[in-house]
Symmetry: C2
Subunit: 493 residues, 2 copies
Amino acid sequence: MYKDATLSEIESALNQSWKAFHIYRKMSLKQRADFMRAIGREIDNLGDELLYVTQGETNLPEARLRNERTRTIFQLNNYADACERGDWLEARIDTAIPDKNPPKPDLRKMLTALGPVVVFGAANFPYAYSTAGGDTACAFAAGCPVIVKAHPEHPRTSTLIASAILKAAANSYMPAGIFTHLYGASFEVGRTLVTQPFVKAVGFTGSFVGGKQLFDWANQRKEPIPVFAEMSSINPVFLLPEKMKQSAAEVAKMFAASITVGVGQFCTNPGLIIGIDNDDLKFFKNVLSEEIKKTNPGDMLNPGIFKNYVEKRSAVLSQPDVETIAVSGKDPVVNQGVPTIASASAQAFFKNHILHREVFGPFSLIIRCKDTGEMTEVAKQIEGQLTATLMATDEDVKKNPDLIESVKNICGRLIINGVPTGVEVCLSQQHGGPFPATTDLRFTAVGADGIKRFARPICFQNWSNELLPDELKNENPLKIRRTVNNEITVANI
Amino acid sequence: MYKDATLSEIESALNQSWKAFHIYRKMSLKQRADFMRAIGREIDNLGDELLYVTQGETNLPEARLRNERTRTIFQLNNYADACERGDWLEARIDTAIPDKNPPKPDLRKMLTALGPVVVFGAANFPYAYSTAGGDTACAFAAGCPVIVKAHPEHPRTSTLIASAILKAAANSYMPAGIFTHLYGASFEVGRTLVTQPFVKAVGFTGSFVGGKQLFDWANQRKEPIPVFAEMSSINPVFLLPEKMKQSAAEVAKMFAASITVGVGQFCTNPGLIIGIDNDDLKFFKNVLSEEIKKTNPGDMLNPGIFKNYVEKRSAVLSQPDVETIAVSGKDPVVNQGVPTIASASAQAFFKNHILHREVFGPFSLIIRCKDTGEMTEVAKQIEGQLTATLMATDEDVKKNPDLIESVKNICGRLIINGVPTGVEVCLSQQHGGPFPATTDLRFTAVGADGIKRFARPICFQNWSNELLPDELKNENPLKIRRTVNNEITVANI
């Protein structure tokens, strides 16, 4: 039913995108924001039909999908508000000083759209990080047309969402080509999209192998383009000694829930827990084991992700120095992920890279260290992460500056006494991190700062007020905040 | 005298850098800024000895070097001020909403240093874009230690500047490893530096071949790292018809000066002039020719750049459809660049990629078009540029929206009725642009926004006020501007 797009279909779609770009990027912030809000309304208008289709394609429970739909619409509205507020434009004005030697010209800078953006959505967030998800919303806010390659595991969902976007586009008088929806189960479609000259940026959420491949293709182009790929993360949790003395049981219960929520299929799932091998950790393991045994296996998103979980999990469990600590007390049926906790020593972790790999699903590996010095060594050997978590008292933090510094190096978001799952959509959020968590640690995939992934500065020198874009005109018709001669102000010039 | 650094010297230097990173990045904005200002003072303290050494190495005239030294110290002070002002940190705070469902945690985000930065300086700016130039200043402001590979064409200058930096570092109680100065005429040293794991970013100013090579090495690492390479640019100038009718002679004189200033050795040198083949353009060419004939050849920076100029210039002049319009009336001696203007039709330009290449020196190629439609076609075929210039009346701009849009696509800075040479150091400046002008069009090499090239966001979730960095504490002890619950404020929380 869903045939891969051919080369000529892709080329013709991208020609349309390129034309749309020159119209859309000149549309006002308000027009863009209204379009984004209209998409949210059209998604809502799809009604519960959407939820049922997605349930069939992803095995995700209805309540979860209902929440995710709400989140997706919230994101569209939140980034629409941010788009209109205009802080993301980083509008900067330095007025001329003609009697300086040499004379200082009038210089005005703002961010402007990169061009058509190709978005590859996620299997685990069929709404919030897929067709009308965060990347699409950020690209629209920035002024970029979007080309979505439908996720091959939920093409019907993607088609419904695409229809909502196209309806909103028509009702908002958007140019043809503002949004393109293509199918492509083969990697050829992905390669063609990323290597076409009219494509100017890529957003991706998914596996390391997929994201890294897109990154490489994009960099090998005659004109390399930015790729923001959010890929793998094991989200290490460091259990510090004083905190563990105080509340090992409480911490264990908190993480049992975080490890198994959504059958462990979140990019912020805590897959590695690092503690000191003492009685507190034993108590923690016991409580965690009890909780895990009580947690039922759950349906995974699709057979590919299930197979991957089974293989990666058993690869870790079969390593010589790995002990299986707890497995759900209920046997799984096909396609179900079985909650599992294993354990290994820090020395085993140092020697065996298989223990560093993400096992996408309800799995976590406990690393036993001699002391906080060895915990610090573990932190230094962990690759880049979306998040890292400290379970620690204030005293723990103060006593272990080297550990804290080492953990800072590897993550985009550093949580204390909380769980990494649950990614609030707000401006202060950072959903990104050092490679291989993402391909560009200077940006975020969640929160309105994500708009900046798809924009670049352009500076207008010596332009007459009339010809400047509204964002930079003397009278500040959009009433946005601008940095004028180093002061942030909404005032006229 | 200047021996290439060995692998073990490089490794030991980078170990020091990495250690310094963990101390320096925690130093206050004020300490960083004071250090940067101290570097400026120490460069000043080098006295005129510095100028004489550089003159010997670069052939640049004393007056120019004096100005460039002033500019370099200004940059250090300007970025120091920006560092302390703290807007670049993009501090954002969203306070907790515990009764939200699910509860919203306290999230606080700011930019933090990437890690040790390797800087490769420019031949044509031995101070302002070299050892203590813009990249070094931005990295220090961001909280990064710097490793400079001395430019092989001005190693004595680089050594003197390095001594000033090291003196300032000692007097400012900076950690050992905050700054490292290495020699390396071979490309092996560059490759080793860019591929070492402790190096987390690269700044480069120079040729396309050099910058692209660093970019490729950095992307092929196990952990790819950001490279900001500022490379080639021909800085096209579009002569619009009404403006030409009004003031062809004036425009010609302006550009004769801009093409030949500094013997054409600026990255913003206007190397391509696109006009409509009519009487106004003939008049323009005549006046420009007269000016160029009157301009003497000038000493180029070094034999490599001279040889390159001779070869690239003659490659263009020897193309079948290229006409030589004007050459300086005075014969050059060895190592002198001879001011030259050539001309070709748009059709020849479309067919022959040699006409698109940068000829680094006092050279410009005039492209004759049938009409503004053909000018637009030329704009569409030009690669990414640092700058583009329109010589145009307001009416010209209004009448040619397609041309203006096409020109916007290819440049970082868009000048109207001015020359691209002369790059003001201020926040609104954009010195960057689409590939191949730079390897990352989302950043600038000039102005305090350049600091952000070497920083990444980190988010603190649920931290106690006491443990947060000062930048994010409730009481805002640094009095920086922060976005608190979407409002920009210096107020406490």
